[in-house]
């Protein structure tokens, strides 16, 4: 198969027919280039969105209470629904619920350290909150179980609070005054996907004891172990029914009890992106087909243009198979090289865009803002496969006219028109 002389003959032919070579090559390179850009953009888009969801646990659910809008069992509408500590226990006992964190927000809490002070939001919580929020610890630790049990006066500061109060002095182990009550700083954290870190976290048990004495909770953040959309919806339904009975409101009353199911949302968004991906693939396949048609067309023209040459070659002793070989190997060589060029340029461009995006994102820290575009690169296997497909298609497209040209009698090919 490998025959230096044959390749020399092919290379000589390519060299002497630059325009033809360029046209064939260009249509292939262009097809692959566009395909790479399309697929890269599609990947970038869905990676970006997936990343945005990754900030919080995907299997997370938020539950909050409000006012009833539908009368229930003789109770008028407009009645506020409130969560208490026992609701926390109820939630924890429900099937499918993995972790539960109750939260109680205290807006405008005054934090002070030495001369510095400021007003921030205090989130009172259980340790499990971090399973949902997935805050990143910069220093120290998060609230733990012992804090809750012993009602320790400890606090985890958001990065902004720490910077405002402590500047560049160490904060861990120091005591800050929260509404004039001293709390020990045990950690500093940032919230992923957020540029503001002005929340402080403290054990819900401590806060209930010190600040309002009640056992109220504003909302729950829970994680569930439903894998599919159906499972997670079933768990959601069960929670709603349980609370509807316990707190007495109509279970269709969305303002009495609000729920946000991240998984449901995630899956739905991913479905949209699946659709976008399919759409991009359709366009990509269309581009590929256009490339294939282009190559086939050029091959048809090439063979027609070379009919006379083929006739001459046959008259002086070329066998049909050597003629087919000559034409096909030329086309394979051109499409391979051109496909490779398109591949390199296309993936190169996407890598460059990726590189520039990483550069402009700046901070090495975990705090990247919302990105719509992330890692817009193409799977290498897909890239190579589509190039190979184009080469194969070009070969098949060239084979049919080449075979026909090789089988016509030299006398027909040689006849002047």
């Amino acid at each position: 198969m490998f025959d230096i002389d044959k390749w020399q003959e092919i290379l000589a032919t390519i060299k002497k027919n630059k325009m033809r070579t360029f046209l064939t090559g260009f249509s292939v390179a262009w097809g692959i280039f566009m395909l790479m850009i399309l697929l890269g953009s599609g990947n970038g888009l869905s990676n970006g969105v997936a990343k945005n969801f990754m900030g919080d646990a995907v299997n997370a659910m938020w539950i909050w209470s409000g006012e009833t809008t539908i009368p229930y069992q003789g109770l008028k509408s407009g009645r506020p629904i409130r969560f208490h500590n026992d609701d926390y226990d109820v939630l924890q006992s429900l099937p499918g619920v993995e972790t539960v964190s109750g939260r109680y927000f205290m807006g405008n809490t005054r934090y002070s350290y030495g001369k510095e002070s400021g007003e921030y939001t205090t989130v009172t919580c259980h340790p499990e909150l971090n399973d949902v929020d997935q805050n990143v610890m910069l220093e120290g630790r998060y609230i733990n179980k012992v804090d809750i049990q012993e009602k320790r006066k400890v606090v985890v500061l958001g990065k902004d609070i720490r910077e405002a109060l402590f500047k560049d002095k160490p904060a861990l182990g120091e005591y800050v005054k929260v509404n004039n009550v001293p709390f020990k700083v045990v950690g500093v954290c940032v919230e992923p996907e957020s540029t503001r870190n002005r929340n402080a976290f403290m054990p819900v048990s401590t806060a209930q004891m010190i600040f309002n004495g009640s056992n109220r909770l504003h909302n729950f953040a829970i994680t569930i172990n439903g894998k599919t959309l159906e499972e997670s919806q079933e768990i959601e339904e069960n929670i709603r029914n349980t609370f509807s009975r316990k707190l007495r409101f109509d279970k269709t009353d969305d303002s009495a009890l609000g729920m946000y199911n991240k998984l449901e949302n995630y899956i739905q968004t991913m479905r949209i992106f699946q659709a976008i991906k399919i759409f991009i693939w359709i366009i990509g396949v269309g581009t590929l087909i256009a490339g294939i048609v282009g190559v086939s067309n050029i091959m048809l023209i090439v063979v027609k243009e070379r009919t006379k040459e083929i006739g001459i070659r046959k008259a002086i002793g070329a066998s049909p198979s050597s003629v087919i070989g000559l034409i096909l190997l030329e086309s394979i060589l051109i499409t391979t090289i051109a496909g490779y060029i398109g591949l390199v340029l296309g993936t190169g461009l996407m890598e460059l865009i990726n590189f520039m995006m990483v550069q402009s994102a700046g901070d090495v820290g975990a705090q990247q803002g919302d990105t719509l575009f992330l890692n817009p690169t193409v799977d290498f296997g897909v890239a190579v496969a589509s190039t190979v497909l184009l080469i194969v298609a070009g070969t098949i497209a060239g084979y049919i006219p080449a075979k026909r040209a090789a089988s016509i009698k030299p006398i027909v090919a040689l006849r002047d028109e």
């Binding site: 000589a12 040459e309 008259a315 002793g317 030299p410």
Partner: protein, 241 residues
């Protein structure tokens, strides 16, 4: 060498059939120099193409070098052409993107001779035809006579036993035509059978045997000795009535 027996050939043109050769019987021996004449459309090229295995025939038999040529695969035919026959065409049929040397060398490529060697041999043949200085020229940079000499060199390079030339001088002026005929005569002197198709009587009279076709049949065969007679008769034919 060549033995044709009752060769028939017709072309299908849509629904009607054009019977071009209607029973040709012809013997040509090794080393003969033959010209085929006849009016336009009488089937000269058709006959030559059959001799060169460029085309097939419908009926009869054709033996080339003792071998029956019929129904052979394209591959076999190509091989036989490469070994036995060299072609020279009226319109030269050089490959336009190859220079003179590469054109001449091409038949050796199909014989499996390596590039260096075949280019060297091609140069020898070009030199023999006085074309060495044009070896690197492309066909479109050469005159008709030069192109025809390149084509002859190409026909010779595979050392064929037969040279078939369809109106080799048809596109050339008189003096160039004579040069080409001189080259063909030298080739013939070396023992190669040369068969040409021509319209021109002065060209035909330089060969040893003239086969006149008329209406798809051999009208007459004029041998060398009778050429003088032929010439005279022909000039009469040319006179306006």
């Amino acid at each position: 060498m060549i033995k044709l027996t009752d060769i028939h050939k017709s072309y299908e043109m849509g629904s009607n059939k054009l019977h071009v050769l209607k029973g040709i019987d012809l013997d040509i021996h090794q080393g003969e120099f033959v010209s085929i004449m006849g009016s336009s459309g009488s089937g000269k090229s058709t006959l030559l193409n059959i001799l060169g295995i460029l085309d097939n025939y419908d009926q009869g038999s054709y033996h080339l070098g003792g071998k029956l040529i019929s129904n052979m695969t394209e591959k076999k035919a190509a091989q036989l052409r490469n070994e036995m026959v060299g072609f020279v065409f009226q319109s030269f049929n050089l490959i336009s993107f190859k220079n003179a040397m590469e054109n001449v060398a091409l038949p050796l490529y199909y014989k499996g001779v390596n590039r260096k060697k075949r280019n060297m041999i091609a140069m020898e043949y070009l030199d023999r035809l006085g074309l060495k200085p044009w070896a690197e020229h492309m066909p479109n940079e050469m005159s008709g006579g030069q192109k025809q000499r390149v084509a002859i060199a190409r026909a010779l390079i595979s050392k064929p036993q037969i040279i078939l030339a369809d109106e080799p001088t048809g596109a050339l002026d008189t003096s160039t035509s004579y040069e080409v005929m001189e080259i063909l005569r030298e080739i013939n002197d070396a023992g190669i059978t040369v068969i040409i198709v021509t319209h021109e009587h002065d060209i035909a009279s330089m060969t040893q045997k003239i086969v006149r076709l008329k209406d798809g049949r051999i009208d007459e065969v004029i041998l060398n000795g009778e050429l003088a007679d032929f010439r005279e008769r022909y000039s009469k034919e040319l006179q306006p009535v």
